[in-house]
């Protein structure tokens, strides 16, 4: 089986797509390891748990974000690094934005509310707290091309996880932090939801956060964005509908 890997080497300033012949029916991660052993040991990619939980192996296959350890390949698939951040080498990208986005979005328990927690309370934040910070949603989000300050899907989903946490007594503090470059900047295109390997729905989470923002007295800026400069209509989301729903399970 033939696969293509986009390789980048900043030292030699090479950016090329290379074809490799590999055995089929394996996970992408196993295929990358095969390439490394058979053809070129210098191929660089991140991986850890090989079970879809450490979030280190995300990449793109034919433009759609996937976890290498949990997905399989088809003939002539093109493997590339994730988007919206600097490529360091081959499939390895810079992730230093991660803690900055989380910090700006105030995604932590501010102050503990002494209260009882029921099964239902816990269920309310269960999905959101399954996020593995794989950055797939971040890579799929079209907003970064126009606004690199956007807090982005996983940071906002995590914000909701704390806003909805009954243990949090200062919910407004988090809501306040996600007004600028946050909930109102999202176009609700749904790309993030399509690619999340943990079946999280950041788009709906963001809609929820908008509602909670308004309920808590923050200005509804959705209209402003719809009619204002910059984001008006006709926005190319870059989303490829042939990718299918949640491509990460196989």
């Amino acid at each position: 089986m033939n696969i293509k890997i986009k390789r980048f080497n900043s030292e030699q300033d090479i950016d090329e797509i290379v074809d490799y012949d590999i055995k089929d029916n394996k996970t992408i991660l196993e295929s990358l390891i095969e390439v490394k052993i058979k053809y070129d040991e210098s191929l660089a990619f991140r991986c850890g748990c090989r079970t879809g939980i450490c979030g280190s192996c995300s990449l793109r296959v034919n433009g759609v974000e996937k976890l290498a350890c949990k997905s399989k390949l088809n003939e002539n698939d093109l493997i590339e690094p994730i988007k919206n951040t600097k490529v360091i080498k081959d499939l390895i990208v810079d992730l230093e934005h991660e803690s900055k986005l989380l910090k700006k979005s105030n995604t932590f328990l501010n102050k503990l509310e002494e209260t009882t927690i029921s099964k239902e309370d816990e269920k309310l934040i269960d999905t959101q707290s399954n996020c593995i910070l794989c950055q797939s949603c971040f890579s799929s989000c079209p907003i970064y091309e126009v606004n690199d300050k956007f807090l982005g899907p996983y940071a906002l989903t995590r914000a909701l996880r704390y806003v909805d946490d009954k243990k949090e007594s200062h919910k407004v503090q988090t809501l306040e932090k996600i007004q600028d470059n946050g909930v109102w900047d999202c176009t609700l295109c749904g790309n993030c939801t399509m690619v999340c390997p943990q079946f999280i729905d950041p788009k709906t989470d963001i809609m929820n956060l908008r509602m909670k923002s308004v309920q808590n007295g923050f200005e509804d800026r959705s209209m402003q964005y719809m009619t204002g400069a910059g984001f008006a209509g006709g926005f190319d989301t870059g989303f490829d509908p042939t990718g299918g729903f949640n491509p990460n399970g196989f």
């Binding site: 850890g48 939980i53 360091i88 927690i117 099964k119 816990e122 707290s129 399970g249």
Partner: protein, 534 residues
């Protein structure tokens, strides 16, 4: 100046960082991965604690179970501290936002694990490690803890048996950095990655911190005790947590018959399965009778893994399993204060041998240990740092590491280090696995001695400086090989069967060996002896 330098950003390292910072210290966390890429995220089943002392359970029972599982090698004082403090530890995790699963009465839900009769294991569905690790990370961001991610610990700077900092390699640039610190905490995880392709562990669990401590002269202890998990997906070595059996799952043979009490300690269950596998028989985990609802609620992640990797459904199919290397009880010897045998050097988490697990670990005790002793290490390292005013360091260690890295880049290589890693994994699974005997152990030792020689001569083909993964992989392999000798020497010397260490040539426990094994490097030679359990 850095007061407390923490190496490793798994559950142990992040907890230590939070506690040291809370105690007023300047903290830096250095790690070869991003925090949430650490292996702690893989823990599924849960974390043990006695939340309420009732007729069903109490601290003393917990202490007894842990001590019994340790086969008398646990340190009673340390176990007592761990167990009696378990409620506080859980309450702390709960208070910083870990979303534990709840029961009907608004309390934290608990399930039953092997080696105990009580429901003592708290959990967050089957994402316990993930949710703990991410919550700790969120708190670290809140507390503005500084991180140096993707920086690889090469060696400790130790002068006159006192640690003064470390030399690390910036993985993105291959540059070396000397980091001076008043105190250092190692939280670099275990070494079951040695069983490459026969382990549940992450690719990054390569025992680096333990190897660095060993080179610096620290005492390692109980390195021969390596736990095999009974239930991992056949040929994939992906864990199906003990909670599957705790929730009532069966182990059955090819005829559908149960052949062992599923809730016996891990070592016994794993050996029973291995024996069958060895005789060419398949073993299955049978969860069908639990029903889809229960399965979805208690183990959604594992259900998904079985679908993704074996294309089977837990609620309909039998799941073929085999045992694989899972957890390493041995490590850097520490006392109840998380102190090592080197001054100002602390260790916590799976890289330490903190006197809790002895010859075998109870499921759910590791997460508790990493948080408990992460807190202890953070506080104590921070206190010690307060007593140090100035730090003077020579550049001897830096020069050594500089030369080492230069040589690796310069050498022409003709040996395939990835192949060696695979060979060692298999060699260890077969010869240093669930069943051991002298001649096989010696065979493994001979092989390792040969490889040690060979590997010291090899470099890497890829000479790029930017994110050279080959360099890291070679260094990791060297660390694993460094640890092979202590493991094998202790396994050869322990002429008895105890816990995870089963010798077919010495099938019984022997009072003579009711001791901890120790290995340390002195004047370039390995010293290997037994010491009394305190």
């Amino acid at each position: 100046m850095i007061d407390v330098l923490i190496i490793g950003s798994g559950g142990a390292g992040l907890t230590a960082a939070l506690n040291a910072k809370k105690n007023g210290s300047e903290v830096l966390v250095v790690s070869k991965t991003y925090p949430t890429h650490s292996q702690t995220c893989q823990a599924q089943g849960g974390i043990n604690a006695v939340l309420n002392e009732t007729n069903d359970d109490n601290n003393q029972n917990y202490i007894n179970d842990t001590y019994k599982a340790s086969h008398n090698l646990g340190n009673q004082k340390n176990i007592k501290y761990l167990c009696e403090n378990s409620k506080n530890t859980l309450m702390w995790l709960d208070s910083i936002g870990v979303p534990f699963s709840r029961n009907k009465n608004y309390g934290i839900a608990q399930r039953k694990f092997g080696g105990t009769k009580a429901k003592r294991t708290c959990y967050s569905s089957d994402y316990t490690g993930l949710k703990i690790l991410h919550t700790l990370y969120d708190q670290c961001i809140k507390e503005e803890i500084e991180f140096l991610n993707e920086h690889y610990l090469l060696d400790l700077i130790v002068e006159e048996n006192c640690v003064k900092g470390t030399i690390v390699l910036n993985m993105q640039t291959s540059e070396l950095i000397q980091i001076a610190a008043k105190t250092v905490i190692l939280a670099t995880g275990g070494y079951a990655g040695l069983y490459h392709q026969f382990t549940t562990n992450s690719f990054v669990s390569t025992g680096d911190g333990i190897a660095a401590a060993f080179r610096a002269g620290a005492k390692l202890s109980n390195m021969e005790f390596i736990q095999f998990h009974p239930t991992t997906l056949e040929n994939k070595n992906i864990l199906i947590s003990e909670s599957a059996r705790g929730e009532g799952g069966y182990l059955v043979d090819k005829d559908g018959n149960r052949f062992i009490d599923e809730l016996k300690p891990r070592d016994e269950v794993a050996r029973a399965i291995f024996k069958k596998n060895h005789d060419g028989e398949k073993v299955y985990l049978d969860l069908r009778h639990l029903g889809i609802e229960k399965i979805q609620e208690a183990m959604p992640q594992e259900r998904r893994l079985v679908i993704d990797f074996l294309n089977l459904k837990m609620e309909e199919d039998l799941i073929p399993i085999n045992p694989s290397a899972h957890y390493t009880m041995g490590g850097i010897e520490t006392d109840i204060d998380a102190k090592t045998s080197i001054k100002n050097l602390y260790a916590c988490g799976e890289c330490s041998q903190s006197g809790i697990h002895g010859a075998n670990r109870l499921g759910g005790n590791s997460l508790l240990e990493i948080i408990t002793f992460g807190q202890v290490a953070g506080k104590n390292a921070s206190d010690s740092a307060k007593e140090i005013d100035d730090l003077s360091i020579s550049d001897i260690q830096y020069k050594k590491n500089e030369k080492q890295i230069e040589e690796i880049f310069e050498k022409e290589t003709n040996l395939d280090y990835l192949k060696i890693k695979k060979e060692i994994g298999k060699l260890f699974f077969v010869n240093v696995g669930l069943f051991r005997e002298e001649k096989k152990l010696i065979k493994a030792l001979d092989y390792i001695n040969k490889k040690k020689e060979e590997i010291s001569k090899i470099g890497i083909k890829n000479k790029d400086k930017i994110y050279n993964k080959n360099l890291i992989e070679l260094l990791e392999l060297k660390n694993l090989i460094t640890l092979c000798e202590p493991i094998l020497l202790c396994a050869i010397e322990r002429k008895e069967s105890r816990g995870a260490h089963y010798r077919v040539d010495f099938k019984d426990k022997s009072l003579e060996y009711e001791k901890n094994s120790v290995c340390l490097l002195k004047d370039g030679k390995i010293k290997n002896y037994f010491e009394d359990v305190l």
